[in-house]
């Protein structure tokens, strides 16, 4: 069998099946307005869809799933890959798609985080927050791209 990255780590940020691709923001990258997403707006539509999952031959897990919530004026889609190679490494790759319906603007944010298994495990056991929400991960890559409609 040919070698390949059997952890199924992917830098997938979605597929534009029609229309123009996202534009990379080189300067003054506009971040996703987290504050607006924290507001208790009613959630009109929510879905969670798993795309693939592997137990890595019983050595951990690699799962790619999408979660989205639609509010009256905006929506957020999170496509997350969570990969844990037992006793070696934890890796998270997030693509967030934020849509402002009124402005016709879409912000795409992509981040790669990973850390040694032992380090994350220590944080996890002391702080009791879910492993994948731990802020201890080293941010490796993060950039934002946008798309707008008139």
């Amino acid at each position: 069998m040919k070698p390949f990255d059997w952890s199924y780590t992917t830098d997938y940020k979605g597929t534009v099946t029609r229309g123009k691709p996202f534009e990379v923001q080189r300067e003054n990258a506009e971040p996703i307005p987290i504050e607006l997403l924290k507001r208790p707006d009613p959630i009109l539509f929510f879905e969670e869809v798993v795309l693939f999952e592997s137990e890595l031959d019983d050595n951990g897990i690699s799962v790619l799933s999408c979660k989205l919530r639609v509010m009256p004026d905006r929506m957020l889609l999170l496509c997350r890959q969570f990969m844990r190679l037992d006793n070696v490494l934890i890796r998270i790759r997030d693509t967030r798609i934020y849509v402002d319906f009124n402005l016709g603007k879409i912000i795409r944010d992509y981040t790669e985080r990973e850390d040694d298994f032992d380090k994350v495990k220590k944080v996890q056991s002391t702080s009791l927050i879910p492993l994948y929400f731990s802020g201890s991960f080293e941010l490796l890559v993060g950039f934002t791209t946008t798309q707008s409609f008139d």
Binding site: M1, K2, P3, F4, D5, W6, S7, Y8, T9, T10, D11, Y12, G14, T15, V16, T17, R18, G19, K20, L44, F45, E47, V49, V50, L51, F52, E53, S54, E55, L56, D57, N59, S62, L64, C66, L68, V70, P72, D73, M75, L77, C79, Q81, L85, D86, N87, V88, L89, T95, I97, V99, F101, N102, G104, I106, Q147, F149
Partner: protein, 111 residues
Amino acid sequence: MSFNGPLDEAYPTPAAADKSTVSHVQKGFKISARKLPISKSGPIDEMSKKLGIPVPEMIFGDNMVSIEHMASGWRLEFNAYDALDQVDKTDKNMLKVAYSKEWSSSRCGSS
């Protein structure tokens, strides 16, 4: 068309795919999600062949989420095939499992 297998091999049928898709329209954007059972062996083999790598044990090849800007037709989709197509198909980013650390030094090179 192949006559080796059942004639209704195509799965999911377009109708089933339609039925499993839920959508919500909000201010000119159509947001959709499709949830179907795990892929069957036929589509898995086909996908594996096209990708050039074995696919994960649990593959939801027919699932997707999408965001469409209805006026322009612009559409963004997330699906398993395209995600797996971005997986490194060389040995450049191969990880080693924990127990292999001890003996990997003696087994460098291709497997």
